[in-house]
Symmetry: C2
Subunit: 371 residues, 2 copies
């Protein structure tokens, strides 16, 4: 029997070339219009290549759950799966501007890649020594500007994929309502996250969980499942069950992500493991740590957490405080209880034993993931 990992891998195998050929088609169109656009769209295409394609796979799973059976290879749902992956690349590209992250998925983030290409070209044009594309402030602002635009391009492309898919119009309109609703939840969550990080507000547990629901749970689990399910003709009851399953599982996913952001190696997560600390990310982990810290520990957390120049030594200090004050264990316990709640909804989502098994395995996978 197929495991959830095999399911996702098999979706990725179908989806990845589809996305590639969709974007390559756009690049070829742009080649007739302007050479400058080609490089930008290529940067966007490259940025999406290393993704795990979990969201795209869940669109397909949602579709198959609504149908009540598996479809095997299925061209009809592929555009909607691709839509979520392209939305993901778009949003991450803008998120990296907001978080000032140079790395994503183990390679340059979109703004950084654009800045670097610009710097290399600038040096070539001015016959300067090319020192590997060391960027100046103008190059950085150029990269940021293009990442903002490419993010918008990605949002429009994602919407286009659903709009131009081969479902009938009524169903596509319903799917777009769902998809846009998810986009708005995601943005609301992102804005709240930006706000709380800026205010260094670690005291409000309910608000921290609200961000996890809006920005992660809707976006990573509930949204993809529902988008596929609407296209499969799901009932209101099924969509509601998917919402609950997604919110529980997605919150657990975020809590796990917060732990990995402090505790994993860069090789594991494909981005800096000091960036959560440097940006002072507002997490349940940080909330508990600050609540439980001794005055001396709190002073250290205040000095390091949210300090843009956090070093490896700083990271280890924060990690030790988190270890000794107990939030790792506490957050892990919360994660477990969300996972149990998610698992309890599975019976309302499908009568198909194999589909139920995949949904159950997804819970385990989210809890144990190392990257």
């Amino acid at each position: 029997m197929m495991t959830i990992k095999e399911y996702i891998l098999s979706c990725k195998k179908e989806l990845s070339p589809y996305i590639d050929s969709f974007l390559t088609g756009l690049i070829e169109e742009r080649a007739n219009s302007d050479r400058g656009l080609v490089e930008l769209y290529e940067t966007f295409r490259e940025a999406g290549r290393e993704g795990k394609h979990i969201r795209g796979s869940l669109v397909k799973l949602g579709y198959e759950i609504a149908l009540g059976h598996f479809t095997g290879k299925c061209e009809k749902i592929l555009p909607a799966c691709a839509a979520f992956e392209i939305l993901q690349t778009a949003i991450l590209g803008q998120d990296d501007v907001i978080d000032k992250s140079p790395l994503r998925r183990g390679r340059d983030s979109i703004w950084r890649a654009s800045a670097r290409l610009a710097a290399v070209r600038r040096m070539a044009a001015n016959r300067e020594a090319d020192d590997g594309g060391k960027e100046n402030a103008d190059d950085f602002h150029y990269g940021i500007s293009q990442a903002i635009c490419l993010g918008d391009v990605g949002i429009s492309l994602a919407n286009r994929l659903v709009i131009e898919s081969s479902f009938d119009s009524d169903r596509k309109i319903e799917a777009m309502k769902t998809f846009i609703g998810v986009q708005l939840h995601t943005m609301d969550g992102e804005m709240l996250d930006v706000l709380m990080s800026y205010e260094k507000d670690y005291g409000d547990e309910e608000r921290i969980l609200k961000i996890a629901r809006l920005k992660t749970a809707w976006y990573t689990i509930a949204g993809p499942l529902q988008l596929g399910a609407v296209l499969g003709g799901a009932s209101g009851e099924l969509l509601d069950a998917m919402r609950r399953y997604g919110i529980f599982l997605g919150t657990a996913f975020q809590l796990r992500d917060d732990i990995l952001g402090i505790d994993a190696t860069e090789a594991e997560i494909g981005k800096s493991n000091t960036s959560d600390i440097a940006e002072g990310k507002v997490t349940l982990l940080a909330h508990y740590a600050m609540k439980r810290a001794t005055p001396a520990q709190l002073e250290q957390l205040r000095r390091i957490y949210g300090n843009g120049a956090a070093s490896e030594a700083d990271r280890l200090t924060v990690r030790d405080i988190f270890e000794s004050t107990g939030p790792f264990a506490e957050v892990a316990k919360n994660t477990q209880s969300y996972l149990t709640e998610a698992a309890d909804v599975i019976g309302e989502m499908t009568q198909n034993a194999k589909q139920a098994e995949l949904l159950a395995q997804l819970c385990v996978m989210m809890a144990q993931r190392k990257s």
Copy 2:
């Protein structure tokens, strides 16, 4: 008989309260969810209030042209009109991040308004003296981050308005194809503009006109007319005529805009009249001026144009060089010839004499506008 100015004013009178109540409804929903989101959505709502609503009005005109008659007050097309206005607010908010413009439509741009609110609150929280909300680097980055997010929110809201309008699903799907196509043209144009400004490439006339077509003509004239027309059931021939009319008129509009950017007062255009100079905006005006400048003038242009610290004295120097080397007159002549070409298409767009008259007046209005 109604003039085009009266037509736009009467649309604005209907559209403006509609948009206001749509956004206010969202704000009330957010008030139940989180107080932080309320302020952000309010900033977005305020940013849209001072617009001229030309694009929204052209959506309605396109709809009425497709129908072959005027509709008077018409609730059915209002959401699509509002969609274009909200898209406009969203894109301008991100454009002001890219151009580092603190002003828009005579008031704070979205990033600046968000940064200012954050600074005021920060000072209150820390019991610092409130010096009118003077922002530090963190406040600015906060404002920029929220403007990026609010831009995405605006794009999603614009799409939602079309998706949830009361036309039948087939027609809404066609309208969305058009709308998303316009969004992609706009973004392509914006990215090319960013690229050429960064490279200070003033030598490629064809590329400068390409930006005007993509970023302005599609977005300001052809797109709004077509969106309305598709919803009114337009034929392929009508849509093609609107495309040509829009490209000609929109290019003329951009050329006029470029002149105003150098030649108008701040009060007239509602934003800084040195910002085009400060950012080194790539315009046909600059192209001609650099081509015709004496070596001494070229040296001055190179020093001032694209220099972020351009002063009023610098602006006047640039203006004088543009005056003496002839581009104002040359661009004005080009503008006129585009307008003539646009006017020539009107006969293919409508048999209704009053609608034809409005389209003709629109050409004159674009050529003579002072703001």
